[in-house]
Symmetry: C2
Subunit: 404 residues, 2 copies
């Protein structure tokens, strides 16, 4: 048994709203043609210290610019609005005015400072009046039991993404804190957070610098390690809120918090990749023995994004040559004679040559819904991993038709 003074206890069915002091509201504004919930507000009982990580896409959407500018002024955040169905991306000066109007209406209705997140179709002007009316209405009906809030941030998602965990002090007085979150995303998912929205919060008071640091660490271990289709969207944003603290938090408690936050982020990220558009099979790619973390990450990403690897996965086809070839395309110096490739439990390549493996056993490994691939580069102590999905007819159906 660990001697750590804090233990983590995951909450079954826990969400962002499991965190004391966080409430939400939602509306069906009609922006989504389906008529499903498409607007959510999330409100903290007090001004929180906050941090956000935004898309690296050079065509970042208006809400990204507005929220980034807001956070540059102050880390304090009280409320967040998320609209789905329209990304307000590549919408020009009018899009900026629309995002600012959303921020203004949010702060008037729910209290500020606020943040604005959007997801949906790109390049179409926002139906601003519908959205502003939705914000005003949603703010009148805030509660901690907001099933529809979780739905209101979804687009092509087929299921909700939520997670929460308790941090429990082992000794008396057995204080308990909560970390919880919600997310959306099922396509355009790639490191640097493609069409991915995530909102996480805790009731553990933290200095602003700790909030920023913890968020970056958690995202690097979670949302940056999943890929659905290699595309990074114009809108992706992950936010973390924590009550402000002026003094440094106890080091062991912060360590427990970091672990809890990474757990929540990892759980949300896995739920996103599990809901990957059209996915029927999943692959965890572990790259080890690399000269650097970035080498390992680059090779894992090249494998996880290769259409040939992803179609082989769709076919349950243990065509490991494609995995090696994808690794060879990663723009990382590799020595084939030092590579070791393992599919499931079977080493198929080592010491510069293929290792004969019973074909039925290999086929069995690739017939599983979840396949693990380990590639050792034999060049150093560094490692990374990526989770990816197969490339299927379902992916094409969803994306050949999706315009809303």
């Amino acid at each position: 048994m660990s001697n750590k003074p804090y233990v983590l206890e995951p909450l079954t069915d826990g969400t962002l709203f499991s965190v004391p002091g966080i409430r939400g509201g939602s509306r069906r504004t009609g922006v989504k043609p389906s008529g499903n919930p498409d607007l959510a507000v999330i409100v903290a009982d007090q001004e929180m210290n906050s941090a956000a990580m935004f898309t690296t896409n050079a065509c970042a959407a208006a809400p990204v610019h507005v929220s980034r500018a807001r956070l540059a002024q102050s880390p304090r955040t009280r409320s967040i609005v998320v609209n789905s169905g329209n990304a307000n991306a590549l919408t020009g000066p009018q899009g900026m005015r629309d995002a600012e109007a959303m921020l203004h209406t949010l702060e008037q209705s729910c209290g500020g400072p606020g943040l604005v997140l959007s997801t949906g179709i790109i390049g179409v002007p926002l139906p601003t009046e519908k959205v502003l009316t939705g914000i005003r209405e949603a703010s009148r009906d805030l509660s901690v039991n907001q099933h529809e809030v979780v739905q209101a941030i979804l687009t092509t998602d087929t299921c909700e993404k939520t997670a929460a965990v308790h941090i429990v002090e082992r000794e008396a007085p057995h204080r308990t804190w909560t970390v919880g979150g919600i997310a959306k995303g099922s396509g355009m998912i790639h490191p640097n957070m493609a069409t991915m929205l995530g909102i996480m919060a805790t009731n553990l008071p933290l200095p602003a610098e700790h909030v920023r640091h913890a968020l970056r660490t958690a995202v690097d271990q979670s949302f940056h390690r999943i890929s659905v289709d290699g595309d990074t969207s114009t809108n992706d944003t992950v936010v973390l809120l924590a009550p402000p603290a002026d003094v440094d938090v106890d080091a062991e408690l912060f360590e427990a918090f970091q672990e809890a936050l990474t757990f929540v982020a990892h759980t949300l990220a896995q739920k996103i990749v599990n809901d990957g558009e059209g996915a029927t099979r999943w692959m965890n790619v572990h790259v080890q023995g690399a000269r650097s973390d970035s080498d390992a990450h680059q090779v894992a990403t090249a494998i996880a994004c290769s259409p040939l690897v992803k179609t082989a996965l769709a076919g349950g086809n243990p065509n490991w040559g494609r995995i090696m070839s994808a690794a060879g395309n990663a723009n990382v110096p590799l020595s084939p004679e030092n590579l070791t490739l393992q599919l499931g439990e079977h080493i198929v390549f080592a010491n510069g040559r293929p290792i004969p493996v019973d074909e039925d056993l290999l086929n069995q490994t690739f017939a599983e819904r979840r396949v693990t691939v380990v590639l050792d580069l034999g060049a150093g102590p560094h490692k990374s991993s990526m989770s990816t999905i197969d490339l299927t007819h379902g992916y094409i159906e969803i994306n050949a038709e999706y315009t809303t």
Copy 2:
């Protein structure tokens, strides 16, 4: 009418074997389970000056290593063997011995120096005896009318890729030279020449340095501008052969030759992308107004490789936001307010905002089999282009099943 002293005349149905002095032979060795022709030898009547460009994949196949080492000794080449169905890639020391045995048998049977090219499945030991027997047999039956040679280098290709052009002197004595080529490739096609084999030759005598320079120029304008699935293979190789000349070629004649070679390479590359696995629609992506050629190429590649752009193309869906979003992911600094995007004849984004275009007109543009997209970055005078295909159910069917 141009005043140039040489004119180009494309040859209908021209091939590599339209070049005087180039003969070929082929065999069905049984390496391909289909029983189709799978081994070709190409033999020049004399030792030629030669150059080759090879894959940049770090897991390059044994024949790539063997041919590269051979060319490092001398630019002279007399014969080439191509086997399809087995790439002899990631096959370890035995693979190197097998490729060397192919070279040795080729040089004994057809005269050397030789080159070895392979394409097919990765990571499976070469059925060497079948291949060596095939080389010996094919060499006994060389001719200039070798329809099956063109077929013997194919794998998932659905059609042959050939091209040839005459360079004709405008004034008496109206001398004529020929440039011709054959190629294979339909998947794993991407700049840096994914599972792409190309063999081109001319009867215009050239110094070795000119052969190298002309090949690089032609490939940069052709094979490096097509993408089927973003994967670069372990085996891709493009070769150019020309009779040796000790003195410099006339500058205007060399200019005409370069134009002819680029035409042949471009025609072969377009035939490859036209035969892209599962393709139903094609997109030409032109990026202009870039700060540098490499910026332009990087943005064009990001658009041409985006699964979301390629599925939109499959669905005939003018979702131009995905094109802009893909451009934003190219790791090239972009200013959205300077971008101009044109789909077919319609400008859909300019001056930082969407331009309303009649939806029916846009849909018509995207209903065409060939779509042209022009993105102006508004940042400089440089440009590049890429040809790509849609991502379809057909691509998945081919690649989920392909193991041979």
